[in-house]
Amino acid sequence: MSGENAAPRVSARQLWRRNGLIWAALLSLLFLSLGLAYVPMGRMTMVAGIVIAFVKSSLVILLFMELVKSKPLVRLAAFAGVVCLAALFALTLADVLTRITTTQ
């Protein structure tokens, strides 16, 4: 921890530049997904939107929330949530997508 008199490790400029770059990337991804939504690609339109959302959220989680710099324990906590959600999706959709409405 730096004290009151110690020189800060980073300058305000550096802070703004690093985070500003991430922000710029996020905004460009936002406009990219907005644009792609109007391109008729069938089901891929939706997929594109979701993939971009994943990229954006990864930027926020890894860099803004500093998950890359966090302890393994913290990463484990985040990972557990995602795995559990994946299980919820996977097994529920295993039902919804394979339902037989009628048998003959």
């Binding site: 409405t101 009628t102 048998t103 003959q104």
Partner: protein, 319 residues
Amino acid sequence: MNPVFSLPEASTHAVRVDHIFYGLLVLTGLTMIAVFVLIVMLAVRYRRGSSAERGPLPEIVSREFEIGWTSATLFLFIFLFWWAASADLSGLSAPANALEMHVVAKQWMWKTQHSNGAREINALHVPVDQPVRLVMTSQDVIHSFFVPAFRVKQDVLPGRDTEIWFRATKTGVFPLLCAEYCGTDHSMMRGRIVVMRQEDYASWLDKQPEGDDLAHQGAQLFVAQGCSGCHADSSSVHAPKLTGLYGSTVQLSDGRQVKADDGYIRDSILQPKREVVAGYEPIMPVYAGLLDDGEVQGLTAYIRSLASPNRTQTDGAAK
């Protein structure tokens, strides 16, 4: 046969279920006895101050034990899964010659209808040794069609058809119960399944009041609900014709191909914009909320009768 202490096995399915049930009973019974006997024996032998030998533990370390019984139980359970699952799979789909009957559940009664249109309340007469397929739906909440003697149970859902089939092997009267909690009089939602000899069933069916044949009812609805305005063969509107439709493969406007089965026809009536046939405009009005489930079943039966006249003849042969 005392119903208090034993449950009749009145369907082919019941025999299969009971095989597994009794197999599991023996297995779990033995396991339980083994565990209980072991606990009691150890507790007595090694009670505090007893003269049983203690001293250094035998050489076999715990790890071998652990791995041993972990893998033993694992393999046993996988075997049980395979056994139960294969029985489940073999009974999954109804034989092609199954009699089709319809069930509509509502708070708190069962309405059943035979292929010739005869209706019953809280009862269903079926012939013995003949597979019967029930197409079921609910008008309100979830119910569950449960015949303990047949070992069959299936939830009956609103807005969707579910199916169940059985082949009764004993004649007699068996209880029909609602097994999914459905409100105040859930416990009163009971009925009877009457299994009759085939010739008795045929004559019973004959004596029933002239209930309209399901398909005939459907034909009347087809006109009354305005379907015929577009879908009749003589109509000039550009709409898919229904003769020969049932059972065929339909090309949809989004490129998919689907089989025109009960579910497809039901969806096409209630939510026509979901699956639009290639080459047609999505102009058909939505019928969800306008038709009740019995009416949809009637229309479906009518459309099915347009597919192959022979098929409905065999279904109605009993008449």
